[in-house]
């Protein structure tokens, strides 16, 4: 049995909904423990089991990748799913190329960012999606798949309806009953005499947009069980005893709150509603377990969720999505102080709109064609410093593969005569905005690779900044001040994302991909209509 220990490290007296620092340690029944994770922390999202755009060597070289979320549904196109065929002590790690010492693999059935309509779930199964269409997964088969894959952490099946709204009272009640029963099913002790790896179990907090339903579901988790119910999960006295953490998927929550506006999420409108619903779920529960949020839309949302609720883990979906559409993130927490002049930055800061700075650069934009500076103005590359020990404490350094590319420590030798260079392992000059601009317009995959490494690293630096402020004396107060300042400095509407999506889509959809035809002056295709386009490209889940 893998155990996920979470220790809260905030010195100040803790209440139910205050920001907190924590440490996650995973102990496996077999194999090495994974490196501890300090919270608030980042979850890396995957597609078909891999981190988009990052080959295995780049995943290992990208240090922010630690807790990684894999969803099983894409593997259901084959029967039996190939993931479940692999043998060994860490089949999921080995098959997908993650390192047990470094990567905690969390498995869920469904992609938390997918908000598309689905056929209804029933008492017997959950419907999910793979490239060959809709598949059904029963709690029993989920249990056996999980035991075969041996992830470190697994989210129990939940009955989250993706059917047309509104959902009736009866439907919500059913959802609670099924989610509870399916959780109990996964918590059942294994029947085998040989102890096998049993992952730590997370629970998706059910109840949709009903405060009372959410509260009832949470209360059910801590209720003492009797009779048959207890026998099923024995020796557990309550379901909560078997739970390692609480999960909130914001996509279905958002859909249930604002089905019409879901395509363009009005974050500020719904943030108080989110807060109310999340609090309703957490109120009855112990405060000592990690709280996980998927698909938060922006760093601003992350800060609010840390500040007002005390969330511990967030996925980097928005940052990884930014890499898909050609955005290099460029922000820090705490936000740079205004005493820093433009000259102190190595490069131009992102664009300002109504006094608020963009969170990053849309490198598709023509202005970057001649911009030969490094990706972010907030971060230097390691090559700017004489040695790694002299990395500046005054100016943050981005150690990603784009800002601080590093030649590999060893190279493959193909013949006895091949001479290997002597400068292996050294930091190289950063890749430039102009280069990535060029790669984006020529539809070269390397652009997204460099951006994915960079954006994940910026997000990790952001959360390290959060932890830094929280760990100070009077941390909670300082944190509140810094959150306010962050909101004042950075644009939350993320207009730059909408702009980049339009340009990305026009390159992506142009026939012949990187074709020059598209760049002919005056060649305005109907695709360039930004409103129509942003509606069309609004990715799955709309967040």
């Amino acid at each position: 049995m893998s155990t996920l220990n979470f220790t809260i490290q905030t010195a100040e007296p803790l209440s139910q909904f205050t920001p907190r620092l924590g440490r996650l340690s995973l102990h496996r029944h077999e194999g090495p423990p994974a490196q501890d994770i300090l919270t608030p922390a980042l979850i890396t999202t995957t597609s078909r089991g891999i981190v988009p755009h990052l080959s295995r060597d780049n995943v290992v070289a990208t240090s922010p990748i630690a807790w990684t979320q894999v969803h099983f549904e894409t593997f259901l196109e084959q029967t039996p799913p190939v993931l479940a065929l692999h043998k060994g002590s860490h089949p999921l790690h080995t098959f997908l190329g993650y390192e047990p010492e470094k990567h905690i693999l969390a498995l869920s059935l469904r992609d938390p960012h997918d908000g598309q309509e689905m056929p209804p779930n029933t008492k017997e199964y959950v419907t999910c999606r793979c490239v060959r269409g809709v598949r059904r997964v029963s709690p029993a088969s989920w249990r056996s798949l999980v035991l075969a894959c041996k992830p470190d952490v697994v989210t129990a099946l939940a009955d989250t309806p993706f059917t047309p709204l509104p959902h009736s009272q009866k439907r919500i009640t059913k959802s609670l009953e099924r989610s509870t029963a399916w959780l109990a099913d996964l918590l059942k002790p294994s029947q085998e005499t040989v102890p096998t790896e049993h992952p730590a179990v997370l629970v998706q907090m059910a109840g949709g947009n009903e405060v009372r339903a959410r509260k009832a579901f949470a209360e059910g988790l801590v209720e003492r069980l009797y009779g048959k119910d207890q026998e099923l999960v024995s020796p557990l006295q309550t379901l909560d005893e078997g739970i390692a953490g609480y999960v909130f998927d914001l996509v279905p929550l958002q859909l249930s709150l604002a089905p019409v506006a879901a395509a363009r999420v009005e974050e500020t409108v719904s943030s108080s509603a989110h807060e109310r619903l999340l609090k309703a779920s957490l109120a009855p529960l112990p405060i000592t377990k990690p709280r996980i949020v998927h698909s938060a839309r922006s760093p601003h949302t992350l800060l609010r969720l840390i500040q007002d609720i005390g969330i511990d883990l967030f996925d980097a979906h928005f940052a990884q999505r930014a890499a898909d559409i050609g955005i290099a993130l460029d922000f820090t927490f705490p936000a740079p102080y205004s005493t820093q002049t433009e000259e102190q930055h190595l490069a131009l800061l992102p664009r300002k709109r109504e006094n608020r700075t963009d969170l990053g650069h849309n490198l598709f934009a023509a202005t970057y064609a001649h911009d030969h500076s490094c990706l972010a103005a907030c971060f230097a590359g390691a090559a700017s410093f004489p040695s790694i020990s002299q990395l500046s404490s005054e100016f943050p350094v981005c150690l990603c593969g784009a800002c601080s590319p590093r030649s590999y420590p060893s190279w493959i030798q193909h013949s006895a005569l091949d001479t290997l260079p002597t400068d292996v392992g050294t930091f190289q000059k950063p890749f430039t905005r102009s280069y990535i601009h060029h790669l984006l317009h020529t539809h070269e995959m390397s652009s997204h690779t460099l951006l994915a490494m960079h954006n994940l690293t910026v997000m990790e630096a952001f959360l390290a900044g959060v932890r830094g402020v929280l760990s100070k004396v009077d941390g909670a107060k300082l944190f509140t001040e810094e959150v306010t300042r962050f909101h004042e400095v950075y644009d939350e509407h993320m207009v730059v994302f909408e702009e980049a999506k339009v340009e990305w889509a026009s390159v992506e959809r142009a026939r012949g991909k990187g074709r020059l035809q598209r760049e002919k002056p005056g060649n305005t295709t109907p695709l360039a209509d930004s409103t129509a386009m942003s509606a069309r490209v609004s990715e799955k889940g709309a967040l």
């Binding site: 078909r48 089991g49 891999i50 981190v51 988009p52 755009h53 080959s55 295995r56 060597d57 780049n58 593997f75 084959q78 190939v82 065929l85 692999h86 043998k87 080995t94 098959f95 997908l96 190329g97 490239v131 064609a369 001649h370 030969h372 593969g401 590319p405 030649s407 590999y408 190279w411 493959i412 030798q413 193909h414 013949s415 006895a416 005569l417 091949d418 001479t419 260079p421 190289q428 000059k429 890749f431 430039t432 102009s434 280069y435 601009h437 060029h438 790669l439 317009h441 020529t442 070269e444 995959m445 390397s446 997204h448 690779t449 460099l450 990187g514 020059l516 035809q517 760049e519 002919k520």
Partner: protein, 413 residues
């Protein structure tokens, strides 16, 4: 350039040489991966160098259009722009003008083509091509040549051959006046279609300019001609070209083609094949290609090649995992690209070692036995290698010989 032949195969015309350029020594024979738009598809320069590759190719035609010479000048050349600290070769752009642009007209002055940007007639002259390549800053630059399809016949072939020679003179003039001869090396391109007489004349003329060119390419091939003609032209040119200059066969990338070319005395080759085929999910191995998209690979829990040192195989990526990714996730393309580039580099690295050790003929025999095995040896390879003293069929009475190109593919059963 310092070019030194360090070993010669006692049987075939294969040789090992060291070519010292401004960005380091490249040991030949070697295969050059193609970074058309200043990136090996999907990889970072750090990944490429870690594969043991230190000479890659950029395309002048593409870089001239995007990002454009102005951007490259500002960035300090293509090496700095793409973060590549090793050797680089650029072609002249002549081939793409013909292959990508159906309105190109060749005049004595240069190639007149329709600009893909604004459709205006634009002229690429030999002088212009060289000055663009100077701005790119590659260690090896190619003359502008008058490229005709290798299937063309008649007087056009001869015209193109003589014009290529005249253009070479103009390229040499421009290059020598630029003051870049110490850092950039100009290669001539032998043309003359499939006509042995024309090839002979072209090689003779170009040998006359030997002291003004750093190396020679054999152009105008790999355009759909019969393989039997292909190797004869390569042999004819390689036999005549000066011993103390590198020889570069353009557009060659299949494993068997590469080894035949090496045996005939070729030192360098380039092709998009290994990287392009990787994106379609085909992994190259010493036992023939594997098409990872085929369902027969969907549950195979072994790497592409468990003796391969590439990051994909050495990290234990299974064929099943790749089957799950290729053509659906870019990571699938990255993984197979890394593997295929290492395959090409191993193929050539093993050739270098074999030539050094005097065992190149045995290497050829082993390679063909493993790669073609029961599928049958391509007849043209057998004939080509016989011409340099290696009989692949020696002691192989039961081995079939197939006509045509004989290239092998992984097919579904």
């Amino acid at each position: 350039m310092e070019f030194e032949v360090v070993a010669k195969c006692p049987v075939t015309n294969a040789r090992v040489s060291k070519m010292k350029l401004a960005h380091g020594v490249t040991v030949l024979p070697t295969f050059m991966p193609v970074a058309t738009q200043a990136a090996i598809k999907g990889l970072t320069p750090q990944q490429v160098e870690s594969l043991g590759i230190n000479l890659i190719l950029n395309n002048t035609y593409h870089l001239n259009l995007r990002p454009g010479i102005e951007v490259l000048r500002e960035a300090g050349g293509a090496h700095k722009f793409q973060g590549w600290n090793h050797n680089l070769l650029t072609d002249s752009g002549g081939f793409q003008l013909v292959s990508l642009n159906k309105f190109t007209q060749i005049t004595e002055e240069g190639a007149l083509f329709e600009s893909p940007f604004d459709g205006k007639p634009t002229m690429l002259t030999p002088e212009e091509s060289i000055s663009i390549q100077h701005a790119i800053g590659a260690d090896i630059i190619m003359q502008l040549d008058d490229v005709v399809s290798s299937l063309t016949t008649g007087p056009r072939v001869e015209e193109a051959m003589w014009r290529t020679i005249r253009w070479l003179d103009r390229c040499i003039e421009t290059h020598e006046k630029s003051g870049k001869v110490d850092t950039q090396n100009l290669f001539a391109i032998v043309q003359g279609g499939l006509d042995p007489k024309l090839r002979d004349q072209c090689v003779d003329e170009m040998i006359n300019r030997k002291h003004r060119v750093a190396g020679y390419a054999i152009g105008g091939l790999s355009g759909g001609e019969e393989k039997d003609t292909f190797w004869r032209v390569i042999k004819q040119c390689a036999d005549k070209l000066p011993f103390d200059r590198p020889r570069y066969s353009m557009g060659v990338g299949f494993a068997e083609d590469l080894l035949v070319c090496v045996a005939l005395g070729v030192d360098m080759a380039d092709c998009v094949f290994p990287t392009r085929t990787a994106r379609f999910g085909v992994a190259l191995t010493f036992k023939g290609p594997l098409n990872l998209r085929l369902s027969k690979h969907q549950a195979e829990m072994q790497p592409i090649d468990d003796t391969c040192p590439c990051p994909t195989c050495s990290s234990g990526t299974t064929r099943a995992a790749l089957h799950h990714l290729v053509t659906l996730e870019t990571v699938g393309a990255h993984a197979v690209t890394q593997h295929n580039l290492v395959f090409q580099a191993r193929l050539m690295g093993r050739a270098r070692d074999a030539i050094m050790n005097g065992t190149f003929p045995e290497y050829l025999k082993t390679f063909f036995a493993d790669y073609f095995g029961d599928k049958g040896y391509p007849e043209w390879c057998v004939n080509a290698l016989r011409s340099v003293g290696v009989d692949l069929l020696d002691g192989k009475d039961n081995t079939a010989v197939v006509t045509g190109s004989g290239a092998v593919w992984d097919r579904s059963e």
